[in-house]
């Protein structure tokens, strides 16, 4: 390996990096023009900060019960009222947000890493490896997801970790197809061929060269997935398979809307977690949409 050649590549990378930087500023500029996306980002930042800081912000212990003060309406002591065991709803909402957001983010990271790796391998190597991996994707796609989800969660104990694991294991197929597609088109581009001729290892080519160029659509899908997982957790909670008490999650707090008594006498109780889910997922969708437009060169501005 001659040094000069390496330098050539280095230069080229610097150039692409430079291009990327300017590209990044274009993307940011485009994104900032989308008012809904910016609004989403801003709101989400507030929500996430509040939830992360829950241990310091929350006015009460989220698990402290006062059985004599059940379903108290919102007031100066309990800002959003209390739940059916007399626990402070606002504190539970913040702590529950931690759980819901963790489920969303970690499951997304899991699904995206699995999907990206498999998609990259399939797209890069092609041939038999590709055929095998894509059949695997077919089987998983053909597997009736919600049924597997119900069975798995019912079988294993419905803890947060299991939920994240199941979500991640069932949701990577879309990403893998996306990444594979990008790889199929990108792997014959000049910069990849150049990297190959200087004997760069496959791993480095995949992760160092092609992947960064293929990440656009993946980032969009990932953003939308976080919201999707938060919704999915609430649906599982409705079926009694979500995060289990005493740990609060927005999903399991929302299930109390099923009680007619609570609906009639303490409607704020399920409404707040419901709104939190709605707003959070909405923000993720706004951001995802904004990113899609910003990252898509075809979208022309008017």
């Amino acid at each position: 390996m001659g040094k000069p050649e390496n330098n050539v590549i280095q230069q080229q990378s610097d150039q692409t990096l430079g291009k990327r930087r300017s590209l990044l500023s274009i993307i940011v500029a485009k994104f900032m023009q989308n008012k809904l996306a910016v609004f989403g980002l801003f709101t989400l930042a507030i929500i996430i900060t509040a939830c992360v800081l829950a241990p310091w912000i929350a006015p009460h212990d989220p698990n402290f019960q006062n059985l004599r003060n059940r379903l108290a309406p919102p007031g100066p002591e309990f800002w959003l009222g209390t739940d059916h065991l007399g626990r402070d709803l606002f504190s539970r909402l913040l702590h529950g947000g931690q759980v819901s957001l963790t489920v969303g983010f970690v499951a997304m990271l899991g699904a995206v890493s699995i999907g990206t790796t498999i998609g990259a391998i399939a797209g890069f190597f092609g041939g038999r490896v590709d055929a095998f991996l894509m059949r695997l994707v077919d089987v998983i796609i053909s597997f009736p997801n919600i049924f597997l989800l119900i069975t798995l969660v019912a079988v294993l104990e419905p803890s947060m970790e299991i939920l994240i694991l199941v979500f991640a294991l069932l949701s990577w197929t879309g990403t893998s197809r996306l990444v594979r597609g990008e790889f199929l088109t990108l792997k014959n581009r000049e910069f990849v061929l150049a990297a190959r001729t200087i004997g760069m290892s496959n791993t480095r080519i995949i992760f160092g060269q092609i992947l960064p160029s293929a990440m656009g659509p993946v980032i969009v899908a990932a953003t939308l997935a976080v919201g999707g997982f938060i919704l999915a957790e609430s649906t599982l909670s409705f079926l009694g398979l979500g995060i289990q008490p005493p740990r609060a999650s927005w999903g399991n707090m929302l299930t109390y809307s099923q009680s007619v008594t609570i609906f009639r006498t303490a409607v704020w109780y399920p409404t707040f977690p419901g709104l939190m889910i709605l707003i959070t997922v909405l923000c993720f969708n706004f951001i995802g949409d904004g990113l899609r437009d910003a990252l898509d060169p075809r979208v022309v501005e008017k």
Partner: protein, 548 residues
């Protein structure tokens, strides 16, 4: 353009209307409830029973099979109770009373021969008469080696059953068995229809069991629309007289929330009301609530295989540390009595005079200290370097018991015991706690008590290995009482012996007995003649009538 704009406005309007109505619907309307409160003072309209009308019963469980010899679920039992009739029934004070039989069993002095005289003229729905031969046919199924149902174990003491004549039937027992009283109430099946079906095939004989069950009960099977409804019509020739109602329809809904809404809209006339929805149901003008103590108790079971719970003082301390009075007054809306022993106050075998461990955290700490548990640096009790920390398990389907696990965490936390509440899905839960796993520290669960108070199935040490004594409780005197109590036919004598067992169990606290809950039935005001039975949902429905 105009069209789209107006559609857009319309959509917006609907959305606003929706928000508005949600807001209205959820604001507590004080004036309205006040009026309702006044309404409840007005006496129910009463008068002479009248014939006619169909009542709609709401239920969340769908029946499986209309044959009491094979069903295991309460939804099926509710339907078969209406279609079939037995020799006897258990009344609302849990006494066995004659039904098809003219009188209670005539029992020979050695307690081995039980003879029943049957009423004449009892007709099946197809017009055939029910005779002693049908009774013999039915009970012989339990004894048959090909019988596939779940009830053979109940009849181990029965040696034979024979028809002395058309209206006299004689049961011969191997040994005296006081429990046999409650076994004489089984639905009598028609021999003229099922006589030729091999016993081994009877469980799958859907032409009878599902499509066309024929009994001698007050209502005839008419139609079953799976997932939606099941209808029964009055049996004109019912031997106690035609029921007042023309028919009974079961309406299936997915959960109690859906049922409460159906009750509110008047789509159903009757439902078993969950305690958590009483507040809502009480506001319905057209609905009456009936309550009675249920034949059951809820408890926390301590796994005695776990060294933590070995010491009786520790178990007593745990009970002292939990304010059961507060739990019943709050979570159970005051609709429960604190329990002290594994027997219902409704039972003739109830013993009031047992040890009580009321809420007293100081006493709890004293007992724990006697047992060697002292607070460690972090405030958690320690003994020999080990922390007092355990998991309390409940099933996720039952919100009350789930909440109790969470509440107990706080109570015990206050005296320095670390508790982790956990929930599991019912099937997985049972698998974990039952033999051969016994994989739990403590469980929150309930027993629906059998009509007979025999303690063997739950407390006998022989039930540890494979039965329901999954907390592994062992006491020689309890084993002894379990073995002999069923051979004592005299009820008072038996009650005294069982009273001793309850006192031992209350003192030893293998369970923390939580409470006896009330059970509620929500009924449309038009329904009259209802009798609330602590165990049987469909009780004397032939006496119900509609004031419409």
């Amino acid at each position: 353009m105009k069209a789209t704009k107006s559609i857009f406005i319309l959509v917006n309007l609907i959305f606003m209307l929706f928000m508005f109505l949600t807001a209205c619907g959820t604001t507590p309307e004080d004036t309205d409830t006040a009026e309702r409160g006044a309404d409840e003072e007005v006496d129910e309209p009463t008068g002479d029973p009248q014939y006619g009308g169909t009542i709609v019963l709401g239920t969340s469980g769908e029946p499986v099979i209309f044959n009491a010899l094979y069903h295991q679920d309460s939804a099926s039992a509710d339907v078969t109770d209406l279609i079939f009739a037995g020799l006897t029934y258990t009344d609302e004070s849990l006494e066995v009373q004659p039904h098809i039989a003219k009188d209670n069993a005539e029992i020979s002095d050695d307690g081995l021969e039980w003879t029943f005289e049957l009423q004449e003229g009892v007709l099946f729905h197809d017009g055939e008469e029910l005779t002693a031969h049908d009774v013999v046919f039915t009970y012989n199924i339990f004894l048959h080696e090909d019988y596939t149902g779940p009830r053979a174990g109940s009849f181990t003491s029965l040696e034979s059953v024979e028809a002395v004549d058309d209206y006299t039937v004689k049961f011969t027992l191997r040994e005296p068995d006081a429990r046999f009283h409650t076994l004489t109430g089984y639905s009598i099946l028609p021999e003229h229809i099922l006589g030729d079906v091999p016993i081994g095939d009877l469980e799958d004989y859907n032409e009878f069991n599902i499509e066309n069950p024929i009994g001698a009960g007050p209502f005839k099977f008419e139609n079953w629309d799976p997932g939606q409804s099941l209808s029964l019509v009055a049996h004109e020739d019912y031997f106690e007289g035609r029921p007042y109602l023309d028919g009974v329809t079961f309406r299936f809904a997915s959960d109690s929330n859906a049922l409460v809404l159906l009750l509110e809209t008047g789509d159903i006339d009757h439902m078993i009301a969950p305690t958590s929805e009483l507040v809502a149901i009480e506001t319905y003008e057209h609905v009456n609530l009936s309550s009675t103590l249920a034949l059951r108790y809820d408890y926390i079971g301590w796994n005695l295989q776990n060294p933590l719970f070995e010491d009786v003082r520790v178990r007593q301390a745990l009970t002292h540390a939990i304010d059961r009075q507060e739990i019943t007054e709050t979570v159970l809306e005051g609709q429960a009595e604190v329990a002290h022993a594994p027997v219902s106050p409704l039972s003739w075998a109830y013993n009031e005079d047992v040890a009580r461990f009321d809420y007293d955290p100081d006493r709890a700490l004293e007992l724990l200290s006697e047992a060697g548990w002292e607070p460690g640096e972090d405030g958690i009790l320690e003994k020999d370097g080990e922390k007092f920390s355990f998991t309390i398990l409940s099933n996720d389907g039952n919100t009350t018991r789930r909440d109790i696990g969470i509440i107990v965490q706080q109570y015990l936390g206050q005296i320095g015991i670390e508790v982790k509440p956990e929930q599991m899905e019912w099937g997985a839960f049972l698998d974990k706690i039952n033999p051969p796993n016994y994989d739990f520290d403590a469980i929150v669960l309930a027993w629906g008590l059998a009509l007979d108070p025999d303690p063997s199935a739950i407390w006998h040490s022989k039930e540890i290995e494979n039965g329901l004594n999954n907390i592994s409780y062992r006491n020689d005197r309890i084993d002894e009482i379990s073995d002999i109590n069923t051979t004592i036919i005299d009820q008072d004598e038996r009650a005294e012996l069982l009273g001793e067992a309850w006192a031992i169990l209350a003192e030893e606290q293998p369970y923390t007995f939580l409470y006896y809950p009330n059970q509620f039935v929500a009924l449309n005001r038009d329904v009259q003649g209802f009798t609330h039975h602590p165990r049987v949902d469909m009780y004397k429905v032939n006496e119900w009538w509609l004031n419409r």
